[in-house]
Subunit: 296 residues, 4 copies
């Protein structure tokens, strides 16, 4: 969604043509979802508008819902490589690097996609902005084991996530559904009874293969980072690691640490399962101890 | 030292020839250290015997002490590759894999050794059984920066460590000097208020490059491992990581964890600086928290 | 039980008269429980002997079991004041001070006892060595709410506890049933990464009214007390408090603490519900933090 | 100070008479401190105004400064009982109950005051709004041990604290000096990985004698109290206790706790030494563990 957002108020008063021109692409190749919602205006909240569009799809007979699902591109598929997807799908899949896979990775996705489509008759659909690449790959097996009804319902739930994110970016107004999570940290130095300032922090995604560094930050005077580590978008469900360089910090505070400090580099590995949740992951440390917990 | 240990009592009563035949190789190419000690018998403790031998070396003029140091092989040097070292040195250096370095590693050691010998006039001496390979490599730079007096004294301290270990293996008796450290762990489950049994644990050495797995263990009914993770020998000074598979444990206890559990795999990275110390590294955990500290 | 214990082996071979003279008083006014058990000799373990005596009571018709229960003195009752109880009951009740209650306390027990006997037809029976006085007083209300069958079964369970303790003191031999709990502590100083030695510790029972100090101890070089705080007997179920004078300790270690140290006196209040359990209550502290958990 | 505050801007432009009428009572019986400051107008900040008034006192010869100190009432003295103090002193001393002491307490203060005045020639001066009654009583002994110069300087420092608080209440404007501390808490439930809502909390001052309950609060959905426990005024230096009723909380969450829960009532005793500081005292707990630290 690169266009500037339109206000809900304006959409409530717009012509049908304008309404559909703004929202017709939210549901992939299904402008009729926007048309059906238009008839129910006005909407008090963005969440109501989303619910109405989703209900329009749910109201269709099963065969039509499956046809709608069939209109979606394969994940990491030929369309992604060839540049033939709807613009929203392009940027979503690119966010995970799904448009530039190695040949082996591409082949793996192709074979999983083929197995899935062969069993269910529609492509594997997932809201890629709420998952790490590993989480997506891990989810093929359990979803392939589902029965048709469960998987149709799961696919529609993913459509709900995908379109909610698109709608929130396209429309400004009250009552926007929650689509953003937050990851934050805080370092407390209990040797000195004060926030730990100046601690270097690294955040990694811990994939099946190597660990990819997502960002670095340094704690401020309150022991926090100036901004949350991640905010304003869904957290990707998956496995992460925070690394805190506390040895350097304690040495800078004037403590005499041994050659190989007991606590030099503290690693906190944690999982995220709620993309819209708040994960506060504090570190409470001395040169000889460390603790963490899910805070708030 | 592959021979069966001899009792201190017997050495106290042995002929000079027998005494030297047992202890002559403790100090590299310096049977005179044993001879000098023999004259001071009887020894009440193994520690006293060691102190007497060390004092015999320290009593020599500086030029002779340097000549003694020169009798030691290069670390990871040509002698190690060619199989020309004293038997004790062979097994000590082999313990770190210093006899089977890649060519690049071999070259790195050669160039560090050359720089060291060039500055001080004797080879770089370190008690390899008390250090990881990384710790040894890291120690060249600060030792090269020392002045001659400091480094002569450091070399003699390392000789003390080397010969203490050799002597403790060669002689049985009261008052053996402490040469063994201990690494232990304990897992407490504070969601249930009980020791965590059946937790899989991995211990890694975290080198400059990859992490080498040293061992795996599983906690018993008391949340401990049946034997200490390391005992009966010096701990190698360096960087380590304990990995605890607590997600599997909590799931086996019947807790419903999310797809990516917040605490699934807990990593504790820690440093060891006292090879003869006791490092107790407990884990206190719930599915939502973890803590560690240097215990006892 | 003040007599010296008799061995199980001897009891297995003793005459019926001797057997009953040793064990006849274990079950209050019921030497027949010992007689019935005598016929089943030999016993491999003390636990087997206890089970046989208990089974002899359980085997009686309900009316006789109730008559047996009626043979027990009132708790904190007239018999306790007047010195008319069986010797074992005397010392057991005296352990809680039940023989020297204030008039108000005495009246409270009398009225609770009367209510209980009025409903169930036998006295309120509890193993007083496994409970604090508060725990006993608290237990009247829920037990008065039970139906007759549940309370008969509960009374017999208490008889089991009472007689197990008496038997273990009267008979020496293999397979003694577990009657002793253990309370221990350990103080770790994570400002220094070492056990905290010399910390003054107080243990209180926290009753409904004032807190009674049970003991004081000082930690040794390993941060523990030389002996467990309580061992060799049941822990009394109830509420407790451990008080650790860590401010004095940290000051003695040379740390500059403010006038009112953040952590000066650490109080850990905890409950005990398993009189035969092991309660390990460690303290992990710095001048700015403290933590505890049920350890092992 | 019961009058409505006057703006700094207005004071900067006021006549000398108005200026002194507003600020003349800030320094006890010393309107000349305000007069001296008036000549230095305008002041950019309230802190600058305070500094100027304080400097006016510091600039006087020692004999005059001592005369100024002599103008202050005895702490908890006859004037307090008889209602003869300056209005600001009246409310300050009443805040600690110093106007309604028992006879024994009154006598104790009288004798300490007499000893102090006898040694130094001026009354014992302390900013009572920054201290608990116990802290004040405890401070006589060390202050009596000071020499005259140290104690004159300490008395002036207390005058600084007293007048800063008075000035901040009398004058509105930019750059007010910091006079308020903050005490806050936060309860995290690491059995569930979430803030603990609905936990009853009690705050006590722990005096030398009994513990006085200062307030009760209940945690909100974020595990915090809706307002800080104390804010908007100096924290009184002294000893405190926070009591958290976590057993009730965990039971309400559906956990099956034993009759005497291991962690039922968690007590955190802590000291406050910085009246203008922020003391964040979180509790991280499960039914089997608890931890706290000075947070931020």
């Amino acid at each position: 969604m690169t266009a500037a957002p339109v206000s809900l108020e304006r959409l409530n008063q717009a012509s049908l043509a304008e309404f559909v021109s703004v929202l017709g692409a939210i549901f992939e190749h299904a402008p009729w979802a926007a048309e059906a919602a238009a008839a129910q205006r006005p909407f008090a909240t963005v969440a109501d508008l989303h619910a109405a569009m989703l209900a329009a799809v749910e109201a269709r007979p099963q065969a039509e819902r499956i046809a709608f699902l069939r209109g979606h591109p394969d994940l990491a598929g030929k369309a992604a490589r060839a540049g033939e997807m709807a613009p929203a799908s392009v940027s979503e899949q690119a966010g995970l690097g799904l448009d530039r896979l190695s040949d082996a990775e591409y082949d793996r996705f192709q074979s999983l996609n083929a197995a899935y489509a062969g069993k269910f008759g529609f492509p594997f659909i997932v809201c890629v902005r709420r998952q790490t690449r590993d989480a997506i790959l891990d989810s093929y097996a359990p979803r392939l084991a589902n029965d048709a009804e469960a998987e149709l319902s799961r696919a529609m739930a993913e459509i709900g996530h995908i379109t909610r994110l698109r709608l929130v970016e396209a429309v400004e107004g009250p009552g926007a559904p929650k689509t953003a999570g937050r990851l934050s940290t805080h370092v407390l130095d209990t040797a000195h009874g004060a926030p730990a300032a100046g601690v270097r922090i690294e955040l990694f995604e811990r994939g099946a293969s190597a660990a990819a560094k997502l960002l670095e930050a340094v704690t401020n005077a309150d022991g926090r980072t100036d901004a949350p580590l991640i905010s304003g978008r869904p957290l990707r469900a998956g496995r992460y690691e925070l690394v805190f360089h506390v040895g350097d910090y304690f040495r800078a505070k004037g403590l005499a640490l041994p050659e190989f400090p007991f606590m030099d580099v503290v690693s906190i590995r944690f999982g995220i399962s709620e993309p819209e949740g708040h994960y506060h992951v504090p570190l409470v440390a001395t040169p000889w101890s460390s603790a963490t917990y899910r805070g708030s």
